[in-house]
Amino acid sequence: MPGSIPASASSASPISYPWSAARRRLREGARELPVVPVTILGVTLLAALFADALAPHDPVLGNLRHRHRPPAWLAGGDVSHLLGTDHLGRDILSRLLFGARISLLVGFTAAVVAGALGTAVGIISGYCGRWVDQLIMRIVDAWIALPAISFAIFLAVLLGPSEMNIVIILAGIFWTRYARVIRGEVLSLKERDYVRLAVVANCSMWTIMRRHILPNVINTSIVLSTLIVGVVIVAEAALSFLGVGVPPPKPAWGLMLADGKEGMMAGYWWVTLFPGLAIMLVVLAANLLGDWLRVRLDPQLRQL
């Protein structure tokens, strides 16, 4: 019905402008969507979702008689273990597929939680100003000063190893990155006319932050999230590698690298090569996608 179009258009609030502009840019960009990162992330996502159906073997139970089988294309390898087996005779391909589940779940959850927390804190800090801003920014400064990996280890030792704890730890560390960037944006946004008019129109502080500030910084948060997913996935792998991340015998990629270290000295390189390759490809894809989104959504954001 033609009459319903203006009605729905007018019901949309005026603050949806930055959103729709971003959507238009995204839609135009969809034609030139970066093929490589989207393919890598898509395949990883499918692997994570359908690991149960795709994996040829159990990821945790191994067959000790099939220890250190090389990949199928090498002498001594067989087709049932495409990428070979590790020191306990567990199928590497199956562990990689189930590992994708852990990496993506931990990576995305931590990045989203950190993003939500950091964005909220950044908006409050930037908008409220004065002592609230001072207090929050001093906390952010102090937390950013802690080298991420040793701070994460410290927290992991305190909380104990589990996926849930890793998400809490990594979100607890990386929210500061968002808070600092978002606060900077809010500082300039709150001088804009529409925010001042909203103040004059007696909007509550909560309303202004939610309806006038948030939609304008959300693009920055999304770009940051994409770039931070990569960092978080590496951090999770590092924690698992050091034995304070995902508890064994779960098939986390970082744990697989730790398992492969001994065997590598004896020449069993495939146990080490494949999980690291998986981490690198996913992080590479996240970085590429983040760079692409940055150009699309937020050309001003140069620094991370």
Binding site: R138, I139, D141, A142, W143, A145, L146, P147, A148, I149, S150, F151, I153, F154, L155, V157, L158, L159, G230, V234, A237, A238, F241, L242, G243, V244, L257, G260, K261, M264, M265, G267, W269, T272, L273, G276, I279, M280, V283, L284, N287, L288
Partner: protein, 306 residues
């Protein structure tokens, strides 16, 4: 200038205060510190004895003052495994970390600067693509995996280099390369963008108009100015390198503070973990303060800004 320096110092002190409170509170909020210090099979009476010995039965305020007072005197508690002060262990291990970080920094600057400059001069062409590839790989490849691959190729297969430990210069090569990967990419990116900025500036155009030879323009006019932000970043990154080397040091059994942190995890040696984290934070705050003050000293505009 004095005002600016005082203000920055005050901020740094504030950050240090929050840092110490954070670590102090996290230890107490996540559980009973006595259980972190006792053997797993310790009985309730043993735990109680530890609590009294450490003053954990007193109020948090008293405990905090005690904690900071100790840290200021260089007393970070006693290592549960080595039975020596955690501070002593830290200072023993620091030189190895500094050595590794210095070599890794040299590599990252050598590669980062040269490829960055080549990429900026040949922007959009072959060298630029090489630069982009190096940057992408450096930022995406986990340092410990790079380290493991290096061990497989150069130690296990070719027998050119020792697999791990510290001793000769050959021991340094692989850990330094593994550690430098990420930072090489960061330095390369910044060099490239900084060079491009300078090459587009008026005085470079003027130099070219005057007929100054292109090499001379690049060396004398562009490179010297493009170097400033890179050197700043490198200064902060050097401190970071010392503190993020834990995984690389673990892979290569390099006896630095990162390895100390890992041993702290292995032996559940909590005072050691706490010391490494706290001093790492102090080091970064000090480095940031130094850079802030140096920058204000070089560029007077910054002093007025804040």
């Amino acid at each position: 200038m004095t005002r600016f320096v005082l203000k920055r110092c005050l901020y740094a002190l504030g950050s240090l205060f929050i840092l110490s409170v954070t670590i102090f509170l996290l230890i107490r909020l996540t559980g009973d510190p006595a259980t972190l210090l006792a053997a797993p099979e310790a009985k309730e009476a043993d735990l109680q004895a530890i609590r009294v010995q450490l003053g954990l039965d007193r109020s948090w305020a008293v405990q905090y003052v005690h904690f900071v007072g100790g840290a200021l005197r260089g007393d970070f508690g006693t290592s549960l495994y080595y039975r020596v002060p955690a501070g002593t262990l830290y200072w023993q291990r620091l030189p190895a970390s500094l050595q590794l970080a210095a070599v890794a920094m040299a590599i990252s600057l050598l590669v980062g600067l040269s490829v960055g400059i080549l990429a900026a001069v040949h922007v959009g062409r072959w060298w630029d693509s090489v630069g982009k590839l190096i940057a992408l790989l450096g930022l995406s490849m986990p340092s410990f995996w790079l380290g493991l691959l290096l061990i497989y190729v150069f130690a296990v297969s070719l027998h050119w280099l020792p697999t791990s430990g510290r001793g000769t210069a050959a021991h340094l090569v692989m850990p330094a390369i593994a550690l430098s990967g990420y930072f090489t990419a960061a330095h390369m990116r910044l060099t490239r963008s900084s060079m491009l900025d300078v090459l587009g500036s008026e005085y470079v155009k003027l130099a070219r108009l005057k007929g100054v030879p292109e090499t001379w323009v690049l060396v004398k006019h562009a490179f010297k100015n493009a170097l400033i932000p890179v050197v700043t970043l490198a200064g902060i990154n050097l401190v970071l390198m010392i503190n993020v080397a834990v995984v690389v040091e673990t892979v290569f059994a390099w006896p630095g503070i990162g390895r100390l942190l890992y041993e702290g995890i292995e032996f559940r040696d909590f005072p050691v973990v706490q010391t490494v984290v706290l001093l790492g934070g102090v080091m970064v705050i000090a480095a940031n303060l130094t850079v802030d003050i140096l920058y204000a000293w070089i560029d007077p505009r910054i002093r007025v800004e804040r």
